[in-house]
């Protein structure tokens, strides 16, 4: 008898967890890519049902790297059966020397929302909105500021605490309790870093992407 009670509770708990999990989900949207790097790399999974765990090494970003920019493109998949929003928070990258690499030196934009297969939901009454100022490809929109330093329309310094970068209506047609290959949307997180005369050193940062219930917009 005690075993059946335990089993019932377990099934209930798992059921609740599953119901919760299928509502909002973020995962890899495909293999991330890097261009223009010297001794750089990016790792992640090509599997859209895999977790979003990406490690970017921009490599050498002093003038030893003669490429005009190091660009990293990270596809991110989203699934939901309700309106959603995606926020990003950052930790790290706190160099005291203003001539060292700063958060404002890493361009960050959001591009190219697109369906992830046939079970992705197409809503006619609402669109997916890339929040300002993130709707740009920083590698294509870099400019030289008055000080001579490269600037971007949006950077990691644009993240002030958890910052919403994207929102919209529901993303998935089905209510599957597990990730599928074709049941949501993908967008690209684009990072750009121009090699410059930064003060020497190694810098690092961590970004957490979070999907949560968003503004209640119709589908």
């Amino acid at each position: 008898m005690r075993f059946f009670i335990f089993l019932t509770l377990l099934v209930f708990v798992v059921g609740v967890q599953t119901a919760s999990a299928q509502a909002l989900d973020i995962s890899s949207g495909g293999l991330p890519t890097i261009t223009g790097s010297v001794n750089g790399s990016v790792t992640g999974t090509a599997n859209v049902t895999g977790d979003l765990v990406v490690t970017i090494n921009f490599g050498e970003v002093s003038p030893l790297n003669t490429n005009s920019v190091v660009k990293v493109l990270v596809p991110i998949a989203l699934r939901s059966n309700q309106p959603y929003q995606v926020s990003v928070s950052m930790s790290g990258l706190t160099n005291a020397n203003s001539e060292a690499l700063q958060a404002s030196d890493v361009g960050f934009g959001v591009q190219n929302p697109r369906l992830l297969g046939g079970a992705g939901q197409i809503c006619n009454q609402s669109t997916h909105i890339i929040r300002s100022p993130f709707n740009n490809d920083p590698a294509l929109s870099a400019t030289i500021s008055g000080s001579g330093r490269v600037s971007y329309p949006s950077t990691l310094a644009s993240l002030s605490g958890p910052t919403v970068i994207l929102s919209g209506p529901e993303l998935s047609k089905n209510n599957s309790s597990k990730r599928q290959q074709s049941d949501g949307w993908i967008f690209d997180a684009v990072f750009a870093l121009t090699p410059q005369f930064f003060v020497s050193g190694v810098s690092s940062a961590t970004l957490i992407f979070t999907i949560s219930p968003g503004p209640n917009v119709p589908c």
Binding site: F3, F6, L7, L10, V14, Q17, T18, A21, L24, D25, I26, S27, S28, D51, L52, V53, V54, T55, I56, N57, F58, E60, V61, S62, P63, L64, T66, V72, V74, I76, R79, S98, E99, D105, V106, I144, G146, S147, G148, R149, S177, K178, R179, F191, L193, T194, P195, Q196, F197, F198, V199, S200, G201, V202, S204, A205, T206, L207, F209, T210
Partner: protein
């Protein structure tokens, strides 16, 4: 099967099944970047040759291009009545770290006597150091280890005993640079700007020879500048 084993197995089974669904509301992107010390020396522009009789600039400097200058100083015997033959070679340095500019010089003459042109007969010095332009770090003190323009009266004179003109100030002639010797040092030059920025630290390198009754022949002077970030 013991009473506790069944629930335990079921728990593991079910939890594993949920884990396989792999759904998550968060994802992580970790990033890193490396900035190594960087220094470079380039030409700061065209060479200025004065006081020469014959000769000329064979390969001129081009601003922000690799430094590879070739100069024919012309006649250095008494038939050249100018007080000095002087070549001014503009240098441009850039770095993201403290730098040291060192120099090595060799002087080879076809003459066989002590009256041939030697390293001590070639005056040398670095002139006024300029840090200007967008993206250049204007602060910090650069240390010029030479005595500046070697033709200045304070930097040389005729030896009262031998009659030969001598560059006498500290590191004012090439004999002081027979091995790599520091000529200039200072703090980082460039702020965080891309390499396409053409500004930097500018300094002229002066080379001077006083025409005298040197032993006839030809002389080759070779100078190598090296900048490092120690």
């Amino acid at each position: 099967m013991p009473r506790l084993t069944k629930p335990l197995l079921l728990t593991i089974l079910l939890v594993s099944a949920v884990s396989c669904f792999g759904q998550s509301t968060t994802g992580t992107v970790s990033m890193s970047a490396t900035v190594s010390k960087f220094v470079e020396i380039n030409s700061g522009g065209a060479v200025t040759l004065t006081g020469n009789s014959g000769g000329g600039v064979t390969t001129d400097g081009v601003a922000n291009s690799p430094l590879a200058v070739s100069i024919n100083l012309g006649e250095l015997g008494p038939s050249n009545t100018n007080s000095f033959v002087t070549a001014q070679v503009p240098l441009r340095l850039r770095s993201n770290a403290s730098y040291v500019l060192s120099m090595t010089a060799t002087v080879t003459s076809s003459g066989t006597t002590s009256n041939r042109i030697g390293a001590a007969d070639v005056g040398f010095g670095l002139g006024t150091i300029t840090r200007s332009g967008s993206g250049v770090n204007p602060s910090g003190t650069d240390t010029n280890a030479t005595s500046g323009d070697p033709t200045l009266a304070a930097n040389g004179s005729v030896n009262a005993t031998t009659g030969r003109y001598e560059f006498t100030a500290v590191r004012s002639n090439l004999s002081a640079f027979s091995s790599a010797t520091t000529a200039l040092s200072g703090p980082f030059i460039m702020n965080a700007v891309p390499r396409s920025n053409v500004n930097g630290l500018s300094v002229p390198a002066f080379f001077a020879i006083k025409p005298q009754f040197f032993e006839n022949g030809t002389t080759t002077i070779s100078v190598t500048f090296t900048v490092t970030a120690p």
